[in-house]
Symmetry: D2
Subunit: 138 residues, 4 copies
C-alpha cells in the first residue's frame, strides 16, 4: 500500500502574480518541489538525476485544478502519491492543502513521467533506484 | 468560425532547466503569454485586466502534453483557439510548433478560466470586452 | 548589535538553467525568500505586507556576486543582515553558503528597499513593524 | 565605437508579483533575454552556447537599479552596451525604457561574464565568436 509523501511549503512572493495570488504555472512548480523532496528522501542524488546522464525522465503530461487561491505567506502541505504505469513510466498525484485544514484540497495536480535513453530518446525501463523510490514509503 | 491566434516566441535561457530543455511548467507560462498577446490584440488593457478590479478571471484548470523537447534559442509558434464554455467561463486550446515545422505539434495545452466577483469570489457573467475577445478573430 | 538571520534552502530544479546550475537571477529570488522568512519570524503578516496597502516597500537596488555554482539538490544556508539607511530606507546583506561549509561564501548579495506612499509614490517613514523587524534579532 | 543593441519586450503577467509590478529579479531576466537576442543577432547558436561545451561563460556579477515600476502589458525597450574587460571577461550595461519615452530610463543594470574551462573551471580566453560579438554592431 502506497502511503502519501508529505511536503511542507510556504508560498513565496516570487510565486505570486499581479492578481495577488500564486501564478497558475507555479502551482505545478511547487508540486515538482515535492517530487524532488520525495526522491531525495529515498536516497536519490538530485543533481545527477535531473542533469540527465544515460537515462532521462522527462514529464510528458501535467495538469492542475485550482479550488482556492494561495497567497504570499500561506503555509501549505503537498501530499504526493506515486504509481507505476508501465515498466517505462509512472505518474504522481498531488493534493495541496492549507496547513491545519487538511480536509479540503485547495488544488489537485497530476504529472506523468517517462524513462528515455538520453541519446536515442527511445523509451527504456525505469532504473532500480526509481523502482525503489516508487515502492518507498515514508 | 473561430480562427486561431498566432504567437511567435523564442525560447529563453530562463525557460530552461538543468536537463537542458524547457522546464515543464514554463510550457504553460509560454501559453499564457500567447493568451495575453491575444487579449491585447483585441484591445484589452492588460494591466487592469490582470490586476483584478471588480471582476477577476482566475484559471481553474491547466494541462499540457509534451511530444518533443524545446531548447534555448528555438523559435516556436503558439496557435490558440478560445471557446465559450458557459456565460461565466471559457477555455483556450494551445498548440506549440517549431517555426517552419507546423505539421507536428511539439506540445498541446488547455486552460479553463472562470469569471468571478473579486469580493464575494462568486461566479459572474463574462464582461463585454471578454465576449468581444472570444468572438474576435485576427 | 545586529545578529544574522539564518535561512535554510534546498536548490530546486526550477532554480536551475540549461547550464546545469542556478540561473543567476534566481540567486536573488532565494535571497528574497530569506527576507520573507525574516519578516515572518518578526511577526509581520506577509500577504498584506507584500500586497501593498497604504505603504509599499519596493526594492530600488539589487546586486549579487557569484563565487561558486549551485546545483539542484544542494543544501544552502543564507545569512542575512539588515541595516537602517535612513528613516525611509534600509538595506539587506546576504551571504550564501553550502551547508556545513560556512567558511567560504558561494555568493554575496545586497538589496536596498525604500518606503513609499502607494498613491503618491513619495518616500515616507518606515512603519513601526519594520523598525521593530530591523532591530529584531533571532 | 560600440553602438547599443536594442531589444523590444512586453511585460508579461508571469513577470509580475503580488505588489502588481515586475518582480525585481525578473528585471535581470529581461536584461538577459536582450543579451541572448544580441548573441543570436551576431550568429551565435544559443542552444550550444548556453548548454556549455568545453567553455562556459557564467555570470559573476549582476546589479540593477529601479527608478520606476513596470506593469503587465507595458511595452519596454532594452538598450545594451557590451565592453571587453580583459581577454577572459566582459560586461554588459543595460538601460530599460518605456517605449516612446526613451529620455528617462526606468531601470539600469549591469552583468559581468567570465570565460572558463568547463572541466577545470579555470579562466580562459574568450572564443572568437564572442570577440566578434563584442565588436559587432547592429
Amino acid at each position: 500500500m502506497n502511503q502519501a509523501f508529505i511536503y511542507d511549503r510556504t508560498i513565496h512572493f516570487r510565486d505570486t502574480d499581479a492578481a495577488g495570488v500564486v501564478y497558475f504555472a507555479n502551482g505545478l512548480s511547487i508540486c515538482h518541489e515535492s517530487y524532488e523532496a520525495s526522491l531525495a528522501a529515498s536516497g536519490i542524488e538530485l543533481q545527477s538525476f535531473f542533469r540527465g546522464g544515460a537515462i532521462a525522465v522527462p514529464i510528458t503530461h501535467a495538469s492542475i485544478d485550482f479550488f482556492k487561491p494561495m497567497f504570499c505567506g500561506d503555509r501549505i502541505v503537498v501530499s504526493l502519491i506515486k504509481t507505476l504505469l508501465s515498466p517505462e513510466s509512472f505518474q504522481i498525484e498531488y493534493q495541496l492543502f492549507i496547513e491545519g485544514v487538511e480536509k479540503n484540497a485547495i488544488a489537485k495536480a497530476l504529472t506523468k513521467h517517462v524513462c528515455i535513453d538520453s541519446i536515442t530518446r527511445k523509451r527504456c525501463n525505469l532504473s532500480q533506484e526509481l523502482i525503489k523510490w516508487i515502492e518507498f514509503t515514508q
